[in-house]
Every structure is written in C-alpha cells, then in structure tokens.
Symmetry: C2
Subunit: 332 residues, 2 copies
C-alpha cells in the first residue's frame, strides 16, 4: 500500500514553475493523506497564478499516479498568504552604513557559499534605490505573481532573489520615493514574497542608517548582521555609525568583512594597499565580532559581476572568508 | 567728510567670529548712513549669539572710528532670519545614485578649486547618515548658533561647511532617522544656516534617489547637477537612475565625472583599469552633458582625506578636471 511519505517524496520532485524549487521546499503542501490507494492532496495557492495552478494540477496528478499502488488522486488548492508559509531559519543582514564598500558583493558571496554547501538560500535586495543583486547574478524579468503574492526569481545555482529591479520596466529607471514607501517595499519583500523553506535569507541593505535598515531591523526577525567596510579611515567612521545603530537595535553582529583590502600586482609580485592601511582588526574589535575576511580588489571579479556571472567566482581569499563565515554561523 | 562707502569698506574688514568672513560677505549689514561725521550702522543679528553681538558692537565701533572724519558711531541690531540674508548665486548638487563612487571627494575638489579661483564657496553636506565632508577638511566642533540660526564652520582655505557631523556629540554617532527627518535636516541646512553671500554652494548628496536628493531638488534652487560614477557596468546602471531622476526633476546636468578611472603603478609605468573599462564617454552621452574629468585612484589622496588635508591636494588629472569644470560653469 502506498504511504503518505511516498506521496510527499514524489511531490518533492515537482518543481514550481518560475522559482524552480519543489512544492515541498516552497512549503506549498498543506495536506497529504492516502487511503485505499486514493491520494488526497491539498496545496496552497499562495503567489501562484491561475495558469500555474492548472499546470501543477496536471503535473501533480501524473507524478502521484506513478507512485506504486496509487490509483486515484484528488487535488485541491487552499488559500494562503506567503508570510504564513515562509519558514526561514536564519535572516542575515549585510550592512555597512557607507556606500560602495561591497555590501552587495558580500551579500552575494555569502549566499553563493551557503548555497554551495547545500543550503536553501534567498537574497532580499533591500537597496530599493540602488539595487545591484539581479545584475550581478545575470537575472532579469518580472517575478511570477498573483493576487496573493510573488515568487523570487532563481539564480543559476538556485538562489531565490527578490529585488525592486526585477519589478521595474527598465533596469535604470529611478525609484524616486520618500522613506515610507521604501520601508513599505521592503516589508512587502518580506511578507508578500513566497520564500518557502529557507535555511538562510540574506538581506542586502543600502548605505545609511535611515529608513531601509530601520525597517529591516524593526520588521524582520534578523538573526545577525555582517558589517562590511573598506580600509579608509573615513569609511571606518561612517561604518562605526552602522555598528552603533546595530547595537542600539540590539541585533547581534556575526562578523566583519574588509573589502578592497589590497590589490595584488602580478608584474611586481606585490600587494598594494591602495585605499590605505587596513583597519580590519580595529573594526572587529569595535564591533565586538570576529574578522571574517579581507577580500582583495580583484579586477576579474568586477568583470564577473558586470557579466552577471558572480556565481562563477572562486579565489583563495574567498575560500578563507567562507571558512570563517561558516564557523561564525555554526557558533550562533 | 567720511562717506557711506568708506564705512562699508571698513565693515568689510570686520570678521564675524566663528565663520571668519566679514560682516559684508555674510550679508549682515542692513544699513549704513553717515551724517556730519556720525555713522549710523544697523547690522542683522541672524545666527549671532548674544556674546558675538557684544563683541561685534565693540569691534565695529573701534573700526569705524578709525575712518577719517568719523567722530561718533551708533550701532543697532535688527532681527532677521538666515534665509532672508542668504544670497547664493549658484547651487551645484553633486550626485551619483551609487554609494562610494566619490561624491564627497568631487564635492570637496570642486569647492576647493572654485575657492582657489577666488570665489566665495560653501559646502552643504546633505548626506545625513554618512557625512564625510568635515573629516576630509579636518574640521570639527559645534557651529556657532543662536535662536535664529547657525553659522557654517570654515575650512582652512575659507570654505564654509555645514554637516550633521558637526552637530553630533561623537563623529561616529549614528543618525537613525526616517526620511522625513532627513529631509527636514537638509531644509534646515538651507534655511537656518547663514551662508551669507556665496558665489557657489556645493551640495554633497547621499547615494540613492530617495528623500535627500528629492528634498534638495524640490526645496533648493539647484542651478545644476554634476554626476559622479566609477567604471563598473553595475555602477553605470545605478548612476543612470540618478541621471533619470535629475531629468524628471528638470534640473540641468552640468557635467559628469568619472572617479577611480585607473590606478597608475609607478614600478611598471602602467595604468591599470582595476574596476574595468571606462564608461566615461557613454555616461556623458547618456547624461547629455560634457565629461569633466577622469580622476585616477590616488593612494596619496586617500591619505590626505583621512588626515583632513584634502585642501593640499594637487595633481595633473585634478587640474584638467578643474579647467573643464570652469568652462562648463562659464557656459551655464
């Protein structure tokens, strides 16, 4: 006789169109029961267009009928909102205070590393006026959406991404919004996007300590913050503002990352500290958190980002960062 | 017999404590009349503390009594608000959309260049959550203020600066404000700061296209915008958002500046394009404005900024930028 477990295993192979993750991983399976070879399945319809629901009905039917002993399938959809279905274990905010230090880069590299380790990962691009994530991953196009919500857009390696730039008619359209609207967009990305089951959601924050970081820290259950900075003194001052904000909001700092630490010049086999001497140890101390990495300036990486191929990146410094990051996340 | 003109000339030598610019340049002289060797002077008291008013009374008295033929001085103060006295010929906003591309650097270099040419210049640091200007110029300390307003803090070369960081107890205190408060702070920097007579006020904008740039473009009579960017494709996309915003707000773009264009490695006598190929011509075209300069990465400049000595900077690329900038401003 077929079991409930067998049916669920089968459903875990049915990918939701658009996000390309299974019904089970998207938390869309409400109920499965099997009696006398008859499988009763209820799925949630959150974020699913009518067409998608029809397609899934057909697909689920075919799939379950292949389970040994199943003779009949009854499939129903139940209403739900994305936020009721989302089950996210860790939310990590990448923050700096300062612009242009590589927050989006560190967000992406963190997500990619965790994905490579087999985790289910998403990126919420909270930089509403300067969103970089879709371009770095080479993804575009409107996310699938219905009245009940939206689905993230998957990257090549299966990281779910939501960014305002996926919703704009043109990628260089300006979002000329005042703070409350920006806060609202971020809240929507949290509540109205079906992230499903995630081990990690990485939140890429914009510069500053205003609406976006404030909304994220107040409305989203952040597990921890990673602080990004570059060597300049001037940067350190502004980044300490972000550290102070994080403290005031009582969020734990998981670690700090120095980006653009140096440039290696192969012709003379020398590291050049082009933005000045490192403040990495000092920043780690003032944040009361471990130094997770010192990433060099890597001209090849800039190219990969511009081409939308950041998922192909690999380097010694990156691997060292990932090791320390994994250690810091394990300790949490 | 002493003339009104002679008295005004004398007043132009009386420096207002704190800002170190003359009563005349600060537009604080309301009225001067001279009759039979008696000088009647009315000054405005905007932004002046009681102590400063007392000090000025004494100083003005002594100064005018030295004018040939003046036997008696009568000095009165009249109430005024800074915004009634400010007379600013050109307001130039430095914008990018993207963070960390060098907006504050270009703001400072523009102000310094204009100051070197003999103009009266101020900088309004509109980056409320990540203000960099005071540190680059090595200035700190609370601006002089009274109930009616504040005075800017002068740099070594006499550029008046107003920045939230001059008002915070510690330079790394976070300003955790939502948009409306940020807009309000910028409006205050425009209306409640006594800038006096200025040829140029440079407004250093934060990243993004949200509250700060919106407030500046809606509330301050901007003469023109200078757009700053770095070579990366990713940056270009976000910067085009700023260009589009500027267009929608119907403000003229005076020119574009590429920063971090390349790094010169003296050991191998080679320019390295470490952030990728230049998009300078392309950006100029898409902004419909001249390319004013391509500034290299200059490790020495980072040090000068960290030390608060940006006013000592000089370089070939900088001079080329200044020449083109002067040309663009002349055409306006």
């Amino acid at each position: 006789m077929p079991t409930q477990e067998q049916v669920i295993t089968a459903l875990d192979k049915v990918l939701v169109p658009g996000i390309k993750r299974s019904l089970v991983k998207m938390n869309l399976v409400k109920n499965v029961s099997v009696t006398d070879g008859k499988a009763d399945v209820t799925l949630y319809n959150a974020s699913l267009m009518k067409d998608t629901q029809e397609w899934l009905k057909e697909k689920v039917n075919q799939t379950i009928l292949k389970v040994d002993g199943v003779k009949e399938v009854s499939l129903n959809f139940a209403d739900a909102k994305p936020k009721e279905l989302n089950s996210i274990t860790n939310v990590i905010a990448i923050m700096s205070g300062k612009g242009g230090v590589g927050k989006s880069l560190v967000s992406s590299l963190t997500a990619i590393a965790l994905r490579r380790q087999g985790f289910e990962v998403g990126i919420l691009d909270a930089d509403i006026t300067g969103p970089s994530i879709p371009k770095m991953f080479g993804i575009s196009g409107l996310p699938p959406m219905s009245e009940s919500g939206m689905l993230p857009v998957p990257s090549h390696s299966g990281i779910g991404v939501m960014s305002i730039n996926l919703l704009l008619p043109a990628e260089d359209d300006a979002v000329i919004w005042r703070g409350p609207l920006i806060g609202h967009a971020i809240t929507q990305f949290w509540e109205e996007v079906l992230w499903g089951k995630l081990d990690y959601l990485i939140v890429d924050l914009p510069p500053g300590t205003a609406d976006a970081p404030l909304t994220v820290m107040q409305q989203i259950p952040i597990s921890g913050v990673i602080i990004v900075f570059t060597p300049q003194d001037l940067t350190a001052m502004v980044v300490r503002k972000a550290v102070n904000m994080t403290r005031q909001m009582k969020k734990p700092i998981l670690g700090v990352v120095e980006n653009m630490s140096y440039l290696y010049i192969p012709e003379i086999k020398k590291k050049m500290e082009i933005f000045g001497k490192s403040h990495a140890e000092e920043m780690a101390q003032s944040a009361g958190a471990p130094l997770l990495g010192q990433l060099p300036i890597h001209p090849g990486l800039a190219t990969l980002c511009d081409e939308g191929n950041i998922e192909r990146y690999d380097s010694e410094a990156y691997n060292a960062f990932i090791q320390k990051l994994t250690g810091a996340l394990a300790k949490k």
